[in-house]
Chain length 471, copies 4
């Protein structure tokens, strides 16, 4: 298995990355992107760390992320690994192995329907990623233009990624994907369709893999959360941990056939899109656990340092936060308990996973509201860490910010900065937005819940209660 | 195991029951109480019904309700049995074995702390109930007077049940319990303390068992839900299924020592009260499942007969209802998965059970609101079932109440009456009130959640995130 | 102005009313319908009561309900009158003048578009109702069948009320209306379209007035809330106050042209439907005030008798209840403040009225949940009032139900029965269902809010904030 | 009236201000604080701008902010002025006249209780501020230490501001205030007590005014929101508009008696604290209106550019947002309508103001959640504005970010940056935190609502409904 250094070296491959209108020569050396690289490198450090080795390394010697889950126990172990990694990342998911293995499992589960040749290509990709211990990104969401229109109905045909040429040795694709996480610091990009397609959209039914330095491929990194490291002390989480999302543009990129998994088979686009998402949502609810635990912990800690542990409304909010976090944990584990095998891949219960994701997403803003309530206005009016050091008035700040139970002002300031980072600043907005839109939107989760539930059975029960015959 | 007839016969024992200011000579023959007897008798019919025998009968030949749960599997089987019984009762729990066995398990789990002699009494009670297949009620909630005062602080010393005389052969108790379910149709009444006590309240630290025809014991049955059977067609659920609650008065009732489990040991009152409640809440969340399933089923059915299955807001509400119901189911099963053994009794995870109960209670009013929304105003303006039969205009009613997909007016009327019973009438109010107050109130659940959660661990995590040392 | 007795006498006119499959010979003498008559008669008693005369009687000597509102002050006075009447009705609206005058105002406001002849018919109806001090009902909601289909698309053409014959002297109509309130005890029935129509639905674009004893017209009264008077002591509100809703069937009813306001003019159907509803919703939010006040008062009273006034969670719920009730009151008054004149009729601000209605409807279930929470389980387990009188145990009940601050058990029982009536039994379900569906559904209110808001102006503001030019 | 330049010049007075551990020599020239100065200067520009002159200038020739409101109309005009100023400030309140005049009105309303001499001092301060057109800050919130303890119970006696010496010519004060808005760019600081005091806390019952360059007074500015101007294009609101909050430390500051309003009169501390806050909350709800309007406008605009205007769930969220914003507007105006005179000052209805503030605070997180939902993930993954200008790929970004209805990619990017600033980044966190804690916390508002409501009247109504006599 690769070391962090080997991983970093692999990223210096001539990839075309832009940041704030500038070319990035070396992502590992960039002041902002470099933080994302260091963060992702934790996924390469854990297998070499005795504290995590057992969890992070497969019995086969490769990363456990590449172990195909075949049972509840496998899923629970995978979930624990994701959770442990995200805790190492201080509530920021590492993702460079998580999301790619989700995509590989999704492709493997669909393989029988793809035909033997394509199934072989999938298998080959899986083995190469596994054996070379690659970092992977997944590009799924298209830019979409007018969301009320299908791909082929858009004013500009390139608003969903499409095949523009089929050649004997491969295909040429054009278009752009958006919200592509960890693309600047992955080795392999797996591209999947974003939705079900009709026959008219056949050219948009595309799935393939490509190296990130492929000619014509360029990535424009988002500057969001790009300045917090300048004052890292005020951002105990986001100041030194981050993911980078890109607008990923394909300017007639060539993909050889051995890396193409779907090209025109519009009937399978929806199933592949959902297949990946359903597996990936289990990763998502696993990596949200360190976040919701942090909200609970911060609520409890703020109550303590503010002297509010006995206040009725504070206890009410704390019990709500605990119920919120532990419901998510229980649903995550229960989804693993109720998994089912699809072509050898243990897929967590789709209904429970989506309910977990929905409960998380619907409650996160309220959770942040409650923690802000307990913490107080200092979240947005705190003095700077530099002020603590000032020879003239630093001591006064320590004195005046002192909290309950002998909490020193410097400690209280640090706690308030943590909670500000978690619930008020850019990092909070990153999480609230991701809660709604990442790994499928809230609305998509509702549709899945409705689709997965045994509705006719429930209607039959209601009819029986009414004394009506089955229908 | 007893038959329904044997069970009914056992209730004609001279017990002192009042209903609307009248003495009830025979509860089995009373027009209202008799319905509760028939309903509870389902708990005695199921073991003799091939469809339920395996679930309802223990390997030892007694009712499975008396099997001490020793594992996750035992708890899941018990939960399934409770759920099946409640479905037979059309969303009304049967309870005459459920609640009593919960109390017995709570006493058995506490037995080591009660001393060998009392432990023997507990064991004897358990074996007698089990071997004689008795129906049991539990009286826990005192009338309480001013709830801001402790038992000994009340204006009237009898506002909590207390011992007024200790004799060589037993004790004499005075006071009253309230909200005592199934007491009019049980064989044995198990009396437990309602809360933790201080030394000043030692006379109130009482636990014992008594037959329901004990001299001085009288029960005043609540008339709530006492008229719906007069128009049973309009109340497909509550018209023929019911529980009876009583104000249970102890006018210097004598209890021999061999039936006394606590008398003055105030230090144990709280633990016994909680011990029972924690086990009983698992029963509670199990028997809520047929109710929440009914809400989902009714929502789906109403959408169908009203022609609203494609409406956006209806789909939104349906997905909410499903998430609500299935979260409760998942948490219930997960609580069994995470059980722990206490003196040989598998106790479901207290934190998860309380979160389940809280989520149920906090969402029930909204669930009813959504089902009402999908169903329509007919819930409270429907014509009578008798109107359907009228030679002159009955056919017109059928015609005008017709729904989507060829639903006949009579069928639609029946469905609306079901949903009215479930969400609008007295039975709905029964459930919404029980959700808040039964098996411990919402506020008690919040306190338990706060108490059970590993708070110091969570605070330690938050401090680590802040870069602060453990404290 | 008529007296209650004159009003009652006017109802013995041969109208065809059915209740539970039986013909009702005289609605004033019927055990259930008679309660509704007595209740509505309060609208005829108030003008003769010195306490209400100034509010209830117009300067012109007729009922103030017939005063065309022409200003904010007029609307506020009308609102106060509706509120006072509903308080007299113990939270049940009187309605026999309220709803009909709303319909008359809606017709008068639309008169210029109806043409001079029809405008004259409207004026004549208004003057007759006013001068003869008539009780009026309004039939608007059709039975609708499959709600995803328009009137002309239904499987049965009669599922919306329609004209089946146009004669020289009038028209013949067939079909049925549902949820028609106070029809059994009104003198005049005003029939309005329920929705906008297309040309294909022209035969369904109908508005007219008819006496309630017209040949072919029959009313089937709902039995909902039809038994509570049998135990009136347990239902302090609904036991002696009620409205009756009917399924109102038109079996080829003849309507002379001088009473027809719309017949085929499909372009005006939507405007008339909305015009009435918008005015009527102001009546609705006015008559909800005594209900929400009752919820606040009951919450406060329950907290007091239970000794819970200092409990943190109780204070939290009480402040929520107050904010809920007073927001509704403020919005109601503000809607009057921002009224605008339409053809001489002061129409309350539509946006504010709909927001008020929506806030009421969205919060009512929660309000009931909170009051139930403060009140306790006695809401559904209380003993009967008859028990209080029993020579043997009546005193014991008084003793054991005693509350805080010296509250006697009989008083506490009465309070619990009030709150049970208000939040748990059939009457509670009546209100929760009406909140969602009456006077236009929640979903209709949302659409109106969206339609009434100055959206382009808001978008322009957002663009300006973004630094973008107007578009 | 002063010009912006005169205002700015007045701030160069030797005040002691620190930012990030550095002395700030001239706040008007500081890269961060200077933005706050420019922003506040809008309050000095509006009177000279023909578009605002009528609203901003009193009939007496001074700033309308100094007009003592004596009627509903005065309050509505004041509210409109605050709203107009905040709109000019792109949803950031200007505050340098708003908050100080609130404090002056609060002091004037209390003047009769302060005695004639102190009343004269208050009057003198008011006239000087008015005639010299001063910018004012108010320091109210103490640092508080352990919030469960009163001022005199704290471990360190300085954790609430206190008098340490009474001299013949004045007093000497020590301690610190926190969350002091606009102090770095005001001329006069008005200091008020933060809560009711007991006799033991008499030394903490302090109110006075002081110039901001008083010896011993120092201000430590918060760095929160201190970097957004570096990328102003990504922060259309906060990039060029801001307030500064300080930790305001009093190191034995001398205050002459003619500027002291309270010193030891502990009985009046609570009334003065509340008196100011109640008036100031009306300012608060007025200046929240441009914020909630922006949320509605952004929701509508995002729906349009994303092509989502017809989606059911989007329309649902939009109607919620409108109801949220317009309820706040209606309550604000209604509070003015129901004002009452206190010593010549029209004080808006306290109950309605607090309900408005509570409704705003409780809904803001949800409002942001809904706008984020409609806007999409771009809020936190957008490319940089600099990318648009890049010769190589700028055009591609325009192409790929194109939205519905011909929206250009650059325009869509700008809109997403606006919404990100408003709902996701530091500025969003500033508003969500202020909603909970500024101008009195949510919990304080609940207590006020409970205190202001006519509770006995409501209980009397409930008793009457129950048929019980008054008590």
């Amino acid at each position: 298995m690769r070391t962090p250094d080997q991983y970093k070296a692999s990223l210096r491959d001539g990839r075309r990355v832009f940041y704030r209108g500038q070319v990035v020569e070396d992502v590992t050396a960039h002041p902002v992107l470099g933080i994302a690289v260091e963060h992702a490198a934790l996924d390469y450090a854990m297998p070499h760390d005795p504290a995590f080795r057992e969890l992070a390394v497969s019995a086969h010697g490769w990363s456990r992320y590449f172990d195909l889950p075949a049972s509840t126990e496998d899923l629970l172990a995978r979930s624990r690994l994701i959770e442990a990694g995200t805790r190492q990342g201080k509530t920021v998911v590492l993702l460079v192995k998580e999301i790619g293995s989700d995509a590989l499992f999704g492709l493997l589960a669909l393989a029988p329907k793809l035909g033997p040749e394509v199934a072989g290509r999938v298998r080959a990709l899986y083995e190469r990623c596994r054996d070379e211990d690659l970092a992977m990104a997944v590009a799924q969401t298209d830019v979409k233009g007018d969301r009320s229109l299908s791909p082929s109905q858009q004013a500009d045909p390139d608003l969903y990624l499409r095949v523009v040429e089929r050649r004997s040795d491969g295909i040429v694709v054009r278009g752009a994907k958006i919200h592509t996480s960890v693309s600047v610091n992955a080795n392999e990009l797996i591209v999947l369709p974003t939705r079900a397609m009709t026959e008219a959209d056949a050219d948009y039914a595309l799935a393939f893999a490509t190296p990130l330095n492929a000619p014509g491929l360029s990535m424009v990194a988002s500057p969001y959360l790009g300045t917090v490291h300048e004052h890292a002390a005020e951002h105990p989480l986001s100041g030194s941990h981050k993911m980078i999302e890109t607008l990923t543009m394909f300017d007639d990129v060539f993909v050889p056939w051995e890396r193409v998994f779907l090209c025109g088979e519009w009937q399978l686009a929806g199933e592949l899109a959902r297949g990946f998402v359903e597996i990936h949502r289990f990763t998502a609810i696993s990596y949200k656990l360190p976040l919701v635990d942090a909200l609970v912990g911060c609520g409890l800690l703020a109550a303590r340092v503010n002297g509010l542990e006995r206040a009725g409304h504070v206890r009410d909010k704390l019990s709500w936060l605990i119920a919120y976090a532990e419901t998510l944990r229980a649903l995550t584990q229960h989804a693993a308990t109720r998994c089912k095998l699809v072509n050898g891949v243990a897929v967590p219960d789709t209904l429970v996973v989506n309910i977990a994701k929905l409960q998380f997403a619907q409650g996160l803003h309220t959770a942040m509201q409650y923690v802000q309530d307990i913490a107080g206005g200092l979240l947005v009016t705190y003095p700077a860490s530099e002020d603590l050091e000032h020879p003239e008035y630093g001591a006064a700040i320590r004195k005046y910010l002192a909290g309950a139970g002998g909490t020193d002002g410097a400690e209280r300031l640090r706690i308030m900065q943590l909670i500000s980072d978690l619930t008020a600043g850019e990092y909070a907005g990153y999480h609230t937005t991701l809660a709604i839109h990442a790994e499928g939107s809230i609305e998509a989760e509702k549709l899945t819940i409705l689709a997965q539930y045994p509705r006719e059975e429930a209607i039959g029960y209601a009819r029986w209660l009414a004394g009506l015959p089955p229908r």
